[in-house]
Symmetry: C2
Subunit: 716 residues, 2 copies
């Protein structure tokens, strides 16, 4: 290869006041695009330097004057009050007590009050409307049953855009609180279109409008008390899309009315981690269509002005999931995803959109999302960047993206020359990987993996949010491992599994805890589903269950696939039933004990189940031959390079395949991707120590020496 | 006191062939009674030595000739086959496959077959009778849904009395397998009455007939495979009482028919640790009445012969629970309970019967129940005896019994002089305690504790079986701690709690895991129950919840008393809801961390809940002021002297009382009972080291020095 991969596919955050630095780093990192960031502006000097320009717009924000003139155009949400115990026949509820009053304001307009509810949570019954009244911010409930607990569900305005609120409260900003408009409000929608039109006219230098993101923020509810400031945060739920107008439109279309309880759900709300109700599914589809329709109009305005529209898939992303049914119809020219992990790279790379761009971490900010220093005292941004890169590169070796970039305040990189160098090196590796993919795809093993959960393809690769926000769920670890493995991966839901979706699948994975959306919860009451997976494995398929796969109380086993897995989990129902005793048997491959978890109630349902790992008398990893197929159960799964290798070995063992076809190392810390068209092995050392490894590939075996964490392109 | 407490209230197991030893030890231990044991006989030399004589009878056993002549008079049970997967439209089930064929034999008589069922366990539906047929020990199911799992529920004969089976298989006995008769069978019942009549005539020397126990053994199901030999064992369930005759009698009386599924319960059976169905409650009452009626007839025969009838409450105890509604009506003269623990002493001592006798452990057998050596190489029977005595003596300091004793092969004590001495010393201490009680009861604190669970008073003190069989349940540890505390203890069920049962209660305790009989399970769906306990605490009562008290999924909190406790437990339902942060606060008394357990999902529902112990970010012990009362939550409770002291301190703290009124030591390892009538302090050192402690009692403070594990009677 002649190219030195120093130029292109890189988006640099420019910063006014630091023009020289901006242009210097643009050159050093091979940028072809300069962008602004939340809180930064570009100066004419930068804009006119010959780079393509991205300009960031948060479409529903920064219209405070309009919001003040039209407060009813602001966004809303349902909330539930904390419970009040009735000591007599009357109880008084202050709905917003305990919520952050800078975020919420009661919506006690007549059309909102229609949707308010008061609940007797002890009896689980809604209180008749005639038994409560509202005045001056207080609800008085009469006819109470003494000692019962009462809550109110109510609508309120959200008077502070949540990302602005987060930045303010985290970084001690003192600027005006930004409000957000609901595009469902007719005047607001007219206003926003006009505003965008005018913006395009006023910004002729902009090549790409970078929408951050669309309309509705993920749900983030603040409390008054600092001991529980962030009361609820879910990157995938839909509460912040609601309004009386939305509810009326829904009712008109669907023929039934949603109530507050469809959102409040006994105060638990409807988190993405939990299986949705049928009503919630309807509502999500309703919102997704609305978001797509409105976004399409905005994209058309942008296109009409000769600009491109890229969307940044974070923050106000609700309803525009890239794997949703309506995403492609919007007509975006590019999708930008900020990433910490491999699964996020795959999420971006696989979306149906022309350009895929990754925004790397760390963000150029004094502190990171977790609150630890990055570009400030005690920070090591170069270490952070490399740590994230180790996750990203193995995913990029499997599937290409077109672009990478950074965000934030460029001046913060001053004094961090190692960070500057590290980013330069990542850029070069990224470009070379991209070039390899362009010559021909990397070899894939003939192993088709389907990850089975409630959301299926809608939430391909992700659960909801970043790795560190969901890392208590074994599935995100499984996804992270899969993101860098040479296997075909798809995400299917239970309905698909039941109706032919297992046809082209070799290995089915179900990983989650009892009752969650990833394990599946009550869907496992479906005899058809259980029978179909029983058939699938009996006829030769492979099943991997992690933690509490197919768990659902009420059956004759807790794991509804216990007969397939050869394992069940006792939560007390086995009282007095002795478990099968067992001995741990040698594993057919290297087992990574550390990846597993404690599951004290695990027990065998078949004495022929092979236990590979056990702890305290309970199995932690098992294999079970079942008909012509087999099943594996893992008590947990925590991502590490060794855990990913174990998963690969398990996939190979269960399907009777060999890793050689896609390139495989004899050192579990070394990962390989084999690009047959360019006869190149991409060899990655995941260990922080030098290593020499033999790489088996279809043409033979090649010995490769690598430095700590080194990536090598080896032509063979 | 002049007495030296060397004589009386002691039952010695005599042994033919060891006449001298028998009489020697009878003297040494101060025995007034000599008994035989399972497997031993008394010789005329012993019988005529002037002691009262107990003779052991297991009424339904040792009638093999009759059983062989009348095989349909044997006892039965329902069993469920293991599941068979239908790969096509037909499935074949071998009902008894996997069960121990020396214990069970199919009952395929026409009247039994009526009760057989075949289940599609995947669909959760019973298979219509026309879709299965039975022949030659096999069930053929037709019209199957492919890939569904099918089970058969069937009746079978139990052809080996379970205690005999256990002794055979454990001790390698080779004698004939003993069978057992069902007193419900009319011929068997006639036979048994005649037999007892004749036995009484033939055994004029016997003063007390020691019934071991009555008719129906606790449930003990053996498997064929040694990897799961003891498939199911429950000391409190009723499966072994069933027969077509019982089912028909039940139907005639109750107006509805029980089915196999009422017993099989998806293969899980109906263990005592799980809340019963309404049908099971009816059936238990039906059996309890039957057992009491028949037992009364036997007792009358015994009385007619001038003998007394004592019952040994173990083995075939089902239906004769000493706190059951019909127990007193039987007319027993005495209740004998074998004990390892304090709660068993209280269980025996509190029963409504004239004489209460404890049979101490270890049993004079080469190995103990757990299979470890006692009177054989490696055994230390004196250590075992003292360990059990430490548990028993603190209970005996609270409530007296009339008698103690031993069982087994007396000759095994030879070569264990320390054991012989230890028993002598225990006898003296027992007699002195008994004398103290006779002079006047020990002081009780004005703290009335009610332990709340499904079974209420029926299972006072016990769960089902001995401590080591149920020690995974925190409640048995709580009961063990309470058995030696100077507080009033009662056991109430949920219906009582709901209907005025909390009137005279100061502290309510609910201790168990979600869904079990001790926590309560679905009963917590009762708004009345929740409201009543809310009222109770709000008006000044105290609530102690251990592990998962009041747990029941489906509400707005997992613990239905979360609002009272200030604590809830997250099993995933709180997804995305942040917990209240907290800091551990100093405890108002010495906390025994070791008694608590891991409960990772525990979280505060009120920021004002005081956390006394936490681990890994989750609280383990909390206090919560609630209205005029308060609540405490403990993640677990494992008995130890320090844990018992913590419970006492907690009770004192929550009720605002002082321990002085009943005598209390400043050393938590020293327990005290204050007998005001005899002005005696009973001071017990629970530690294995010498100690000096100050005992506060109503008359002042007394300093007492005690050797390791010493009990002292201190007159003040």
């Amino acid at each position: 290869m002649k190219e030195n991969f120093t130029q292109g596919g890189f988006t640099l955050p420019g910063e006014a006041g630091y023009e020289q630095l901006t242009l210097e780093l643009a050159k050093k990192w091979g940028a072809d695009v300069i962008r602004d960031s939340d809180g930064t502006k570009l100066s004419p000097e930068i804009v006119e330097a010959g780079y393509r320009i991205y300009s960031t717009i948060c479409i529903i924000r920064e219209h405070n004057a309009f919001a003040e003139a039209h407060p009813d155009a602001q966004q809303q949400t349902f909330l539930s009050s904390d419970a009040v115990i009735a000591e007599g026949p009357e109880a008084v509820i202050e709905p917003l007590k305990g919520y952050f009053d800078e975020q919420f304001q009661l919506n006690d307009s007549p059309e909102a009050l229609e949707y308010w509810q008061v609940w007797d949570r002890t009896a689980g019954e809604v209180v008749p409307r005639e038994n409560w009244s509202y005045a001056d911010g207080r609800i008085t409930v009469t006819g109470c049953t003494p000692w019962h607990r009462y809550t109110a569900s109510f609508l309120c305005w959200r008077i502070w855009e949540e990302i602005n609120m987060y930045n303010h409260t985290t970084n001690h900003w003192t600027s005006e609180h930004l409000r957000q408009l609901d595009p469902r409000h007719p005047l607001a929608w007219e206003y926003l279109q006009d505003w965008l039109e005018k913006w395009c006219v006023d910004n002729p230098q902009t090549n790409v409008v970078r929408l951050t993101s669309l309309f509705y923020n993920f749900v983030w509810i603040f409390g008054e008390d600092m001991r529980r400031r962030s009361r609820f945060v879910d990157w995938g739920s839909y509460d912040f899309t609601v309004s009386p107008a939305a509810l009326k439109a829904f009712e008109a279309e669907y023929g039934y009315a949603l109530t507050a309880e469809d959102f409040i759900n006994k105060g638990k709300l409807q988190a993405t981690h939990r299986p949705p109700t049928a009503h919630k599914r309807d509502y999500m589809d309703f919102i997704q269509r609305f978001v797509a329709e409105k976004a399409k109009v905005l994209v058309e305005i942008i296109h009409r002005h000769g600009k491109q529209a890229y969307v940044f898939y974070d923050d106000s992303w609700v309803g525009m999931e890239p794997y949703g049914k309506y995403f492609a119809s919007i007509g975006f020219d590019g999708l930008i995803k900020c990433i910490f992990s491999g699964f996020e790279c795959r999420l971006c790379a696989g979306a149906d959109v022309p350009v895929h761009e990754l925004r790397f971490h760390p963000y150029l900010f004094p502190v990171g999302l977790g609150g630890l220093p990055t570009f400030s005292e005690g920070g090591h941004p170069e270490r952070d960047a490399v740590a994230y890169w180790l996750h990203a590169r193995r995913a990029l070796a499997r599937q290409a993206v077109e672009r990478i970039g950074l965000g934030g305040y460029l001046h913060l990189t001053q004094g961090y020359p190692e960070f500057v160098d590290a980013i330069g090196e990542m850029g070069r590796q990224f470009r070379r990987l991209k070039a390899l993919h362009a010559e021909g795809a990397p070899a894939l093993l003939p192993i088709r993996v389907a990850v089975l959960h409630t959301w299926g393809s809608l939430r391909s690769w992700t659960l909801s949010g970043h790795f560190h926000e969901t890392d208590a769920n074994p599935l995100i670890h499984v996804n992270e491992a899969l993101s860098g493995l040479p296997v075909d991966v798809r995400f299917i839901d239970f309905q698909q599994a039941e109706s032919g979706g297992l046809k082209d699948v070799d290995v089915l994975i179900n990983a989650g805890f009892a009752g969650d959306a990833w394990s599946g919860g009550e869907v496992w009451n479906s005899a058809e589903l259980v029978a179909e997976i029983t058939r699938f494995v009996c006829e030769g398929g492979a099943l991997i269950g992690v933690a509490e796969p197919s768990a659902c109380p009420g059956g004759d086993s807790f794991l509804r696939l216990a007969h397939v897995l050869g394992v069940d989990i006792d939560h007390g129902e086995y009282a007095c039933h002795a478990p099968w005793s067992f001995e741990v048997q040698p594993a057919p491959f290297a087992v990574c004990d550390d990846a597993l978890a404690a599951m004290p109630g695990a027990r065998l349902t078949d004495p022929e189940t092979k236990v590979l790992v056990a702890e305290g008398g309970a199995p932690r990893m098992t294999l079970h031959a079942f008909g012509k197929g087999c099943a594996a159960w893992l008590s947990g799964f925590e991502y590490s390079p060794a855990a990913a290798r174990m998963l690969l070995e398990l996939l190979l063992h269960m399907t009777g395949r060999t890793g050689k076809d896609a390139g495989i190392s004899d050192d579990p810390m070394v990962e390989t991707a084999w690009f047959p068209a360019s006869k190149t092995l991409v060899v990655m050392n995941d260990a922080n120590a030098p290593v020499e490894a033999n790489i088996e590939w279809p043409g033979g075996t090649t010995r490769v020496a690598l430095g700590p964490e080194e990536l090598k392109f080896v032509q063979v």
